[in-house]
Amino acid sequence: MKVIIVIIVLFFLHLNSIAQEVKIDASYNYLFANQWDKAIQTYNFSRPFNYEKQPLLMHGLTTSGTYISKSSKRLKHGINLSYSYFRSSSENENLDVKLHLNFLKLAYLLHYEYKEKLKNMYTDIIFSATTSALVRNVNGKPFTYDEEKSKAYGIGGDISVKMGYFMKFKNKVGLSPFVLIACTPYFYSPNTEAVINQTKGLASKSSTAIFSAQMGMAFHIK
């Protein structure tokens, strides 16, 4: 354990020494995953007894942290770790169902800072490895069977483009509003329908494409 702590501390010291910029951001995240929509749509279709329908997994929040390496060039590179959370909640008599979808992304990014008229604008091109975990809660408790939580894990890779505008406030501190669009052409999560619709292969496929759009604010330390 001590060894691990020492390694982590050394790693962060190393990052700090080589980092030109650290960013922490928060954003609204709009999600579109066709196959997951189908699973929820089929769930709603097949359970007409639910007056309030299960909303699609669509609106969420994302927070991320980014290290951008020191370089004199306009094009720099860095790493990014982000976490997103989406929820779908329906409340019916004796049956409140909540879906909790979590994404964790680890990314390599290329960071480009513009010059002259577009000075202070930046673009990040982000290549991520993405994992997800989906769980279903019924009446406030995780839905379980065979003494285990009903859950679906997923894995995929995505590419994102982020554009922002840096506003300096103090010597090394600034803010930037940004927009981000991400595309995951193939995201494998074979158990998702089993969690949402409690069956498999009936309404949706084991993989889906995911598109997402984010708008938020980043806090910069340069």
Binding site: N44, F49, Y145, Q198
Partner: protein, 446 residues
Amino acid sequence: MDRRYFLKQSALFSIGGLLIPSAIVGACRKEILLEDINFDGKVIIIGAGAAGLYAAYLLKSKGIKFQLIEASANYGGRLGKLTGFANFPIDLGAQWMHGKNNIFSDFITKSDTKISLDDSDLKYWFNNQLVNKLPKNTDIFEGDDLPDISYEDYALQKGFGNEYKYIIENIAGDQGADASQLSVYGNNKDEENWNSGDDDYKFQETYFDLIDKQIATQVKDEIVLNTIVSKIDYSQSSIEITDSNNNVYSADKVIITVPIPILKSGDIQFIPALPTEKTSAFSKIGMGAGMKVFLKFSNKFFDQNIIGGTICAAYADDSIGKVQDDNILLAFVMGEQAEYLSALGSDAAITNALIQELDTMYNGQATASFIASHVEDWTTNPFVKGAYSYSTIGMGNARFIAAKSINKKLYFAGEAMNLNGHHQTVQGAVETGYREVINLLEDLAK
């Protein structure tokens, strides 16, 4: 570009480039499948079992005209309830809910239906004695690269000799099959698709009660009982269904949910005849004999489960999971054992054969405490003709072909048409019911 200008532009960009498209796309994303479908035609559902009842329930929820035609005097198909025999209600047909991760969990939660995990103890009748454990582990039918041969042959290959015959018959019997007919490969593939969970649950009332109170009650008024469909003429735009009394019913679409033996045996004539590929697929889907015999005793001399009998490979204490505790032992007889008992020709003869076997196991205690029996022979039921479907040797993709709709007019549902590994189960039947309503409505939308 100054900061103020940029912020203004970026705000406009955000609203125009992100929020407006998101709002538009979001508005197009409906919460319910086929929400806007309009169909003023009529759908006839043949068979008021779990699949037919659920299809009817969904059609009703969509405001679509429908009628359910049922051959027997009761709805429910292979679900049934017997009262008065014991001090608790008895499931005549499907009894265990296999796994909890299925559509019924929502019904059960919503209606506060009482279920309990069946974790009752097992005993084996092995080499003419009751034992707690078998000498060899029989868990050999799951894994990779399994051959497309029968359970019986595979067990022999793996060194399970004649002393294991009825243990293996019980394993195959759980799948509704003779060990000589059930495919190791096919059944393993089915198991791979299974996602409901492994635990079995019993209802404090009955499985039939759940279906009756939650689903059938919604569509009862549209069920026509005692109506045996003999002909389906789908050669014209309107489909004509003729019953055994020559009454004719017309519909625009038909959902056929009858058990697979009814389709195999040609009890229903199709005009034009169904494609050979389809009838061939029907013939490849297995369905073995099945019978449930309830034996009432004055005392509980028996174990909770007895596996491996030569007359019946699976006995179970039927009071498990019930509030009351009359001493009812269920003989769950499948495959060749059910054929043998059925051939004895009378309920008394069937009961006698089972009592004799129990006497052998329990030193004559069965005869000494026997009170009454009830025999439910699903094989001799002319509208069922068996237990439930299973995967035969060389079956290939027969279920997929069997389940395909024809000319956007005839749709096929029922447990045997389940393609997700959930055949043999009530939840599997219900899934096909709503799958075919979706297929039907999607065909209309095209």
